[in-house]
Symmetry: C2
């Protein structure tokens, strides 16, 4: 329940972690802040950034870095691929057999130590694809 980097338990930390763990839509720091404010109206955006960064460092949540867009935060912590819809901006988990891809790549590149992977697909989600057709 406790951890090394965080020395004191505050309602802010608890609420921020709770929001990410109960969100399925990969919210940005700003969105997390809005949701936390439903419960704690005075949280500052700075605190949200600070706590999210700490949680990611502790491995309790995952930061999804997106090109030319604010980072999103994910309750799923293992490496997995994401799809960003260029139509609606949604971020979704996709099953791309990324773990197999990762292990293949690792064995193909034995001299490189791969510690992280960001796999981001961009295009149109089923909804937006239908609209554009």
């Amino acid at each position: 329940m406790d951890n090394a980097t965080s020395k004191r338990n505050t309602k802010q930390k608890a609420a921020i972690e709770r929001v990410v763990l109960s969100s399925c839509d990969h919210p940005s720091a700003e969105t997390v802040c809005e949701r936390v404010r439903k419960e704690l109206p005075s949280v500052s955006l700075g605190t949200v950034y600070r706590v999210l960064k700490a949680l990611a460092l502790e491995g309790r949540i995952r930061e999804i870095s997106l090109p030319n867009a604010p980072s999103r935060f994910d309750k799923t912590t293992d490496i997995h691929a994401h799809f960003v819809c260029l139509g609606c901006g949604s971020v979704t988990d996709v099953n791309a057999e990324e773990s197999e891809f990762l292990s293949r790549t690792r064995s193909a590149l034995p001299d490189w130590r791969i510690e992280e992977a960001d796999i981001v697909f961009k295009g149109l989600c089923p909804n937006c694809k239908e609209i554009k057709l």
Copy 2:
């Protein structure tokens, strides 16, 4: 030789494209600017950004978006994986059978239209791995 978006040929555009096409180290906009200044000491960083963006849009070069780091620019325009070394910061092309991975993913997700993919590995390159051991 000519293109649609660009209406006039300037020495700045020519020099900027030449620098990217002759660079093998995936330079950032700032680095491109420094190199162009060897030849055209008065180019502004704004122009470099503007031209790089246009060249990427025209498909003559590729922008590599990296998490929490300035974009790099690449003479290779097709989708391919990159490796960012957490030790020395270098960005390298790696062969990860990414085209096979892409086509597998496309057929696994027929309802999603995948138009782009950013595949970025992070870890230690052979050099830095050796130092850290």
